[in-house]
Amino acid sequence: MQITVRYVAALRDRMGRPGETLDLPEGAADSEAVIARLRETDAAAEALAHPSVRLILNDAIVPRPAALADGDILAFCPPFTGG
C-alpha cells in the first residue's frame, strides 16, 4: 500500500525535503513502521522517533502509534509553538 509522508517545520529542515511517497507491505503498517523504514536509509529520520513528535493523519491530530491505510497522508510535526 502507498502512504504519503509529510515533514513539517523543523522536521522538514531536518529531513531536507517536504515529504515523499512510500510503498509499504499490506497489514502491520503504522506510524512507527514508517519511521523504522525511513531510518534504514536516512539517519536524519531518527528525529521522527523522538517522543515529542506529533502526528497528523489526513485531517486529524492523532496519538502514536497511528494505524495506516492505503492512500493515507501522514505528517510528522515538531511540538506546536503557536500563541
Binding site: 517545520a9 523543523a10 497528523i56 486529524a60 491530530i61 506546536f80 509553538t81 503557536g82 500563541g83
Partner: protein, 157 residues
Amino acid sequence: MARIDTGIIDTTLDPAAELASLAGADLSAGGVASFLGQVRQEDGLTALELEHYPGVTDQALARIARTAAQRWQLDRAVIHHRVGRMTPGEPIVFVGATAPHRRAALDAVGYMIDLLKTEAPFWKRVHTARGSHWADAADTDRQAADFWLDQMASEDA
C-alpha cells in the same frame, strides 16, 4: 447556545476591533475577558514567521473554543490567530470570552490560550540579523495546558 468564532488571519489582527466586537454584543454577559499575544522583541529577533497546518488548525481552534464555551457556559468564545510574517509589537493571537460572570470569562480565556499553545498546529520561525531558526516548545506551556486538563478531569470524576 454559545457563539463560536475562530479562525486563521493572514493579514493584520486589529485588537481594538476584536474587543469592540465583544463589548455589548451579548446582553446576558456581565463579563468580557480577553488575551492578546504579541511578538516579543528579544535575542535580536527582527521578525516572527508563523506556519500552520491548513485544515487541521481551524478544527483545533474550533474544538478548543467549543470545549471552553461548554465548560464555562460562555455566551461567546473567540480565537483569532495570525499566520505569516510579523514584526515585534504586532499581535499574534486574540482570545476572547463573554459570560454572565467574570470568573467564567477569565478562566475560559486562560484555558483557550493555554490549550492553543499545545494543541493547535502552529510553528514559529524566529528571524534575526544572523539568520533564522525554529522556536522551541516551552515546558511551561505543556504544564499550563496540563493544569486545565487535570482540573477538568478531576471535576468529571
